[in-house]
Amino acid sequence: MDFIGEVAAWFADPTTWSGRNGIPSRLLEHLWISAVGLGMGAAIGLPLGLAIGHTGRGSLLVVSIANIGRAVPSLGLMGLAFLLLLPLGLGVGPFPAIVALTALAIPPIIVNTYAGLRGVDRELIEAARGMGMRASQVIWRLEVPVALPVILAGIRTSAVQVVATATLAGVIGGGTLGELIIIGFNTGDQVRVFGAALVVAALSIVTELGFAALQHAMASPGLRGRPIPPPEDPGQVAHAAGEV
């Protein structure tokens, strides 16, 4: 039987869809680990990005985070989190993956939040201050709504990276759909490798499209109809900050 037929047979096999190493169980694990990592990354990255973007202090820090964030290999983050948590008894299971994904999610969120806030027209901010707005009002009523498309672009970049990199948790026994690929590698089961990879690829593309739709839907009504900004390139941000 040809390879594609075997893969189709694998998808049709009920055992593929049941048990600990079934697609639903691993997919669910993949999603919750990604969601926790992204959530924690946003909980750390958003306040930092808002603070640096609002005050304009610490732009060098943002550029460094952007550059190092891109240069640190995600596999290295995963391996390091595993080794650091191992002596604490947390090396096995989802914890190393969550720590690594949190670290991975932070840079794009900080960089885009910062870039979004810095991109707000200075005259608008002066006008808001002149109207008697306090700093918190300037942030929440002016800067955040205007910068929202760019901030959301950062969250989208992080989300796509997190869902993609969660696959690597399989390398350190941390579960997710990546575990199915690694099991396939180790047992020489190319049909399972290919089938699981198809599921991962589909999940990534759905994540990308889903967050693009979310970004579109959440943009302030006044800004709707404008083109959605693409995810920020750290290189461009570095350029904008005058550091390169």
Partner: protein, 221 residues
């Protein structure tokens, strides 16, 4: 000498092997960026001739970019084999295409129309104009793309170890997470060298760009 869990003696004892892995890492990166540049230049010139194709080209290369690296390896394994340099390189090249093609196209589009007209007026053929005027003027944007693609690729090459190949990922995963006592040392060595390579490559490309575009020096400062 030890710093907490980090054992520098292990690094010194294994310096030769670590050097070999770093060289292998550089080799995989250079091949991927080189082939990626050739393909992207072809795609960009195609888009220049037929602008309608820009959307589809970005769509397809963007789709490739969105597929997680481990999954892309896995999809290629049945075709190109497990422990195969070809599997790694095809995946690495496909990740460079989006950034490189986009930056070449945008770079060429950013060339001032006056310069193009002046070149045509001076009797340049379209090929001469491309080689002597348009590509040089687009160089800063193109190099910006090469820098991002290179830094990303240096990180991704670590995944070659998952297919049983070398590169710095071998230190991070194959030695690092499998052999208890010097695991953290090996993993950290791999990460530090990978980040170092990325930073050096980035600065080197910036220096090359400044040397090749002396007229832009005032602007990039």
């Amino acid at each position: 000498m030890r710093f907490g869990p980090v054992d520098l003696e292990w690094v010194a004892d294994n310096a030769d092997r670590i050097g070999e892995l770093a060289v292998e890492h550089i080799y995989y990166t250079v091949v991927a960026i080189g082939i990626g540049l050739i393909i992207s230049l072809g795609l960009a010139l195609l888009v220049r001739r037929i602008p309608r194709l820009y959307g589809p080209v970005l769509g397809v290369t963007g789709m490739l970019y969105a597929i997680p690296s481990l999954a892309l390896f896995a999809l290629l394994v049945p075709i190109t084999g497990l422990t195969s340099v070809l599997t790694v390189e095809i995946a690495l090249v496909s990740y460079t295409l989006l950034i490189l093609t986009r930056n070449i196209v945008e770079g060429l589009r950013g060339v001032p129309p006056d310069a193009i007209e002046a070149a045509s007026g001076m009797g340049y053929t379209p090929t001469q104009r491309l080689m002597r005027i348009e590509l040089p003027l687009a160089l800063p944007v193109i190099v910006a793309g090469i820098r991002i693609a290179t830094v990303t690729t240096v990180g991704l090459v670590t995944l070659a170890a998952l297919l049983g190949l070398g590169g710095l990922g071998y230190l991070i995963i194959t030695i690092g997470t499998n052999r208890g006592s010097f695991g953290i040392t090996a993993t950290l060595t791999g990460i530090v060298l990978a980040v170092g390579l990325a930073v050096i490559a980035d600065l080197a490309l910036l220096a090359v760009q400044r040397a090749l575009t002396p007229w832009a020096r005032r602007r990039t400062g």
